[in-house]
Symmetry: C2
Subunit: 324 residues, 2 copies
């Protein structure tokens, strides 16, 4: 394992990088949907790190700036291939294998979790690999080293192998149609007024440095800013709602997300006869709670490889697979 | 009634104008949250129409560009007062009455429905006034000419007098956590990938000219564009999902919105002993379905005053109240 073999995980909002020895970890906030700086940043990485080999996984092709996934994949591929010497670049497909020259380009769509599953299967054996990131939650059954998940995001949404909620970017209105307050149930506003990052900041589950996405209102990332955003979820400002009630709403966000996660894990577990979870991502704390509720064995990728690697696990897994 | 008395309804996304004789109706798409053109447009209206009297109602103060509602109200008021001669301007408060000089400025927050309720009460007697607009649904009980609703959006969200869903701008992810497909239930993506305007365009409930808000992806307003956006709700592109399934999803959007509306109307009806609905707004078709399910009497503002007036009813009501 060395620092010259790197993995890149190019998502719609973030691009993550890890070296196969785990010594280099980078997270770049690089939204693809507006004047993206992806080409420049990849070139800068190529010059600065001079990697010998690069393994690439992606999910960014779903960004709604692309007409369809194939267009998105071609765009991402062209950015990578103009930054690095193409002979040094390998792409990992949705089976978690390196793509052959002749392979269908669409197999590269949404494959970052497949790289993770390949490494998790080698390391932990049969298990459900769960990765809760900034935006989504992957719930991947692994048997005899092979993942048994659907091959597209659409398939996985239908099979409870993808829950489209994460620890930072998720619109709270998509999680909670109503919140419980002292005075009773209250409907929520369906705007993008607050995100999960606001709730988990208030609950002390992430700190400001982990709040790496944009805020819903473009204001700051302090607790006061987050409280103001959460108040807007019920169309209130701080003269109308008490701070304790805001914290209660934040607690309900976590409760809802843990129960949605547990429901999905339980379904995947039953289908595959699995009761062991390997958990990665910024949202390991949510997976741990879900595992406890289900009474499942719980392995933490943070505990095994360290917290920083857990947060960029698909990139690390890609690098490791290339270095095997 | 004449064309020189106008009502203005200044919302977060749209500003609407009507004259008290109903002959002039205008809708301006004027988002307050980014470099708003509100000051210029109001000045242009003042010069072009030379109104004798202006009645103003607002809801735009909740826009998240403002720190709190008072700041929002002051901003909107300053725009109005620099466009029109202040002595000609009257503001309507959340009791549906003209605001006295000494009144608390916060009483002007979210008062557009109060003007509507005042006029509806005069015209239709005791009823539940329901206005489903582009973004929200107001459900206002009226007894003996006075509305009995909570005075703030927060209060009304708690009392089922405000359902934060409309016919154009509502994020489908906030309405539907799962959709039913032939293959079974499918979770949805929690991004802003598609809005109610896309669903109602496909269902033929609105046409392209009524699609007056921005599209979720910045692309066009054709049915093909809308189909593409709805496919993204389940992370699919058009090679993965059949068009008939997209139309089924659109149908589920309507079903969910009608049932949420019926639930809220039913609660308000019970609390106030009312069984008659007066319906206004672009979403009258949703209210009609909800009324049928509940077996309530249904009066259409479109039928009574015309479709164009129904769509800008708070502005029309404000003008009429000033002309009384």
């Amino acid at each position: 394992m060395n620092s010259k073999i790197i993995g890149l995980d190019i998502g719609g909002a973030n691009t993550k990088l890890a070296s196969s020895d785990g010594k280099i970890i980078e997270l770049h906030y690089l939204p693809l949907w507006k004047n993206t700086r992806l080409p420049e940043v990849l070139k800068e990485i190529a010059q600065r790190m001079q990697p010998e080999k690069i393994a690439v996984v992606m999910t960014g092709e779903l960004a709604d700036c692309f007409e369809d996934k194939e267009q998105g994949i071609r765009f991402i591929k062209s950015c990578v291939d103009s930054a690095f010497e193409p002979s040094k670049v390998s792409y990992i497909n949705s089976m978690g294998r390196f793509q052959r020259e002749a392979g269908d380009i669409r197999e590269l769509a949404a494959a970052n979790w497949a790289a993770s599953a390949r490494l998790a299967g080698k390391e932990f054996g049969d298990c459900i690999f769960v990765d809760v990131g900034s935006t989504t939650s992957d719930i991947i059954p692994i048997l005899s080293g092979e993942h048994k998940a659907g091959l597209t995001d659409f398939d996985r949404l239908c099979r409870s192998e993808l829950v489209y909620a994460g620890t930072l970017r998720t619109n709270l209105a998509a999680l909670l149609g109503k919140v419980k307050l002292e005075r009773g149930l209250c409907r929520t506003a369906s705007e993008l007024f607050a995100t999960t990052a606001d709730a988990y900041l208030l609950l002390g589950k992430i700190d400001e440095s982990a709040y790496t996405c944009e805020t819903a209102d473009g204001a700051g990332r302090s607790k006061t800013d987050a409280i103001r955003r959460l108040a807007r979820l019920v169309c209130a400002d701080l003269s109308e709602i008490r701070e304790e009630e805001i914290y209660e709403i934040a607690g309900q966000v976590k409760e809802k997300q843990v129960s949605a996660l547990a429901e999905a894990i339980s379904e995947v577990a039953k289908r595959n006869g699995l009761k062991k979870i390997a958990a990665a991502g910024l949202g390991e704390f949510l997976i741990k709670e879900a595992a406890e509720r289900l009474g499942f064995e719980f392995i933490s990728v943070s505990g095994h490889w360290g917290e920083e690697i857990s947060k960029v696990f698909p990139a690390y897994a890609a690098a490791r697979l290339l270095d095997a």
